[in-house]
């Protein structure tokens, strides 16, 4: 008889684990389901546009949806260019902050500065947009852009006329501010993870601080740093509200960064709830689908880079 009791108890216990396991697995599956649902919803929502407009949708540069002309190239262009401006500014600034935090800043200063930079990530994007619209855009319009047009106006990107201050440059600057905390914190973590022995190896050869960063730290941390940069790019490409308020909402492709433009995310934000025809609404969905695909690719690349801890690329003869 004594053998029956434990068996019964064990059977009882065995049931608890599968149930709990199944429960957790179910919710794990919810995440996958959410991602798939997003994809299905976007595809079915944009089916009409995919069918009628095809892939030329993204190459057509005429956006007048109410007259049935829907080319999304201006939005794609605006998204790419404003993100590019943002990254060009954010990457050196972020690396500078990360290097300062890891290499130079005294201990008592590291946490406060790190916290301030992270705060930049915590501020709601709508507030960046408000500030950009009311403070930064007028500032650029009255001071920076005229100066750039006067001194560097021979470059097409800085050619006049200076308009309202809203446009690609302003959007790029705001995006830079929003991307800096992302790139900074990942680059900082990657640089912190470099073994002390690497830094010491460089210093013992007579490297200055900066030279040890160049020789040992940055190369060792490079895949983490690239991962952070690409993650930041993903953020910039998808950012909506901050950009919507400062981009100028004009679907055009102009070389000058002072010109108003449009981005994929902000055209959705501004026009979706007012889209009156099915095709119009579907076209905006397709823009959303495009945004999803682009950010998906970018994020996958970033995660792969961040995961590959080991990076022993055959270096050959580098200089």
């Amino acid at each position: 008889m004594s053998a029956v009791q434990p068996t019964l108890r064990r059977r009882h216990l065995r049931l608890g684990d599968p149930i709990f396991f199944g429960f957790c697995a179910l919710f794990g599956a919810v995440i996958l389901a959410v991602v798939i649902a997003i994809l299905i919803s976007l595809i079915s929502g944009s089916w009409e546009a995919l069918k009628n407009l095809g892939l030329s949708f993204f190459t057509g540069s005429d956006w007048a949806p109410l007259e049935g002309r829907m080319g999304a190239w201006p939005m794609l262009y605006g998204t790419l260019v404003s993100s590019l401006i943002g990254m060009v500014i954010a990457v050196p600034v972020s690396l500078g902050i990360a290097i300062f935090l890891v290499e130079w800043a005294p201990h008592w200063l590291r946490e406060p500065i790190g916290f301030l930079v992270e705060l930049l990530a915590a501020i709601p994007s709508i507030i960046f947009g408000m500030w950009g619209m009311l403070v930064l855009a007028p500032l650029l319009q009255q001071h920076t852009e005229p100066w750039l047009a006067d001194h560097l106006g021979f470059l097409p990107i800085f050619s006049g006329p200076v308009l309202a201050g809203t446009g690609l440059l302003t959007a790029g600057l705001i995006l830079a501010l929003m991307v800096i905390p992302i790139v900074t914190s990942i680059a900082r973590d990657a640089m912190r993870a470099v073994p002390v022995s690497q830094r010491e190896a460089a210093l013992a050869l007579g490297a200055t601080r900066w030279e040890s960063v160049r020789l040992a730290i940055l190369p060792y941390a490079r895949s983490g740093i690239f991962g952070g940069i690409i993650l930041g790019l993903g953020r910039a490409l998808g950012e909506t509200m901050a950009v919507a308020l400062v981009i100028g909402t004009t679907p055009q492709v102009k070389a000058s960064l002072f010109q108003p433009a449009y981005t994929m995310s902000s055209v959705i934000a501004n026009e979706f709830s007012e889209a009156t025809t099915d095709l119009y609404r579907s076209a905006l969905m397709e823009i959303g689908l495009g945004l999803f695909v682009v950010t998906l690719l970018v994020n996958v690349v970033a995660r792969v880079l961040l995961r590959s801890v080991n990076h022993r690329a055959p270096a050959g003869t580098t200089t």
């Binding site: 010491e200 490297a207 022993r312």
Partner: protein, 266 residues
Amino acid sequence: MGALRAADGFSVSRESVAVEVKDLHAFYGRQEALKGVTMMLPANAVTAIIGPSGCGKSTFIRCLNRMHEEVEGASVQGAVIIGEANIYAPGVDPVEVRRRVGMVFQRPNPFPHLSVFENVAAGLRLNGMHSRSEIADRVEEALRLAALWDEVRDRLSAPGTSLSGGQQQRLCIARAIALQPQVLLMDEPASALDPVATSRIEELAVSLKSVYTIVIVTHNMQQAARIADKTAFFWLGELVEFDDTDTIFTLPKDKRTEDYVRGRMG
């Protein structure tokens, strides 16, 4: 141009020089890790630093090329005279000190992103050497001195980390001596290596003393006995005894040294 090259730091004479340590104190914050060490490390000799862990031996060797101060809150008092110049004199740049005092660490730390060749060339490039042929010559010379040339001559462009542990450590020695320092510091260079690799490092240390003043920290007393001409025993941040290696291991004067080398403590 030639004169300028000299000023770039590549014509420093290769004669090895003695290291004189005068009343050296080292601190981590307020904590005193070295309490007034005075000693004379002879040229063209291997000096071993022994003692139980935490005795300050690593701190001591890191004071000889001003690496100690890289730790946040660390500071140094006293003088270390290498050749004729006090490396702690005001205005002396630690960067310049480290170029003249090479260092090898506990664990091999080649740069993983650089090839075998570039690992050795790293210090040369850093210090302003640009001529390809000059660099190639110096790299080969350093690898030969480090007894590694024959093993890596065919894989100079392979990553430095593709070598075995013992080879990596010799690569690090080559990297240090490519700069033709006057003193070579080794901080437990064989602690992470197997016995065969260890004995190669030991042979190397002995063979290099004809060119360099060598200071080696070790927790392995047999190693000190095998390779060192002089041995210093550290205990709780103090230099207890410093003498010929034979004397330290056979006729130590201090009771603490005797206890330690007889294995009665630490």
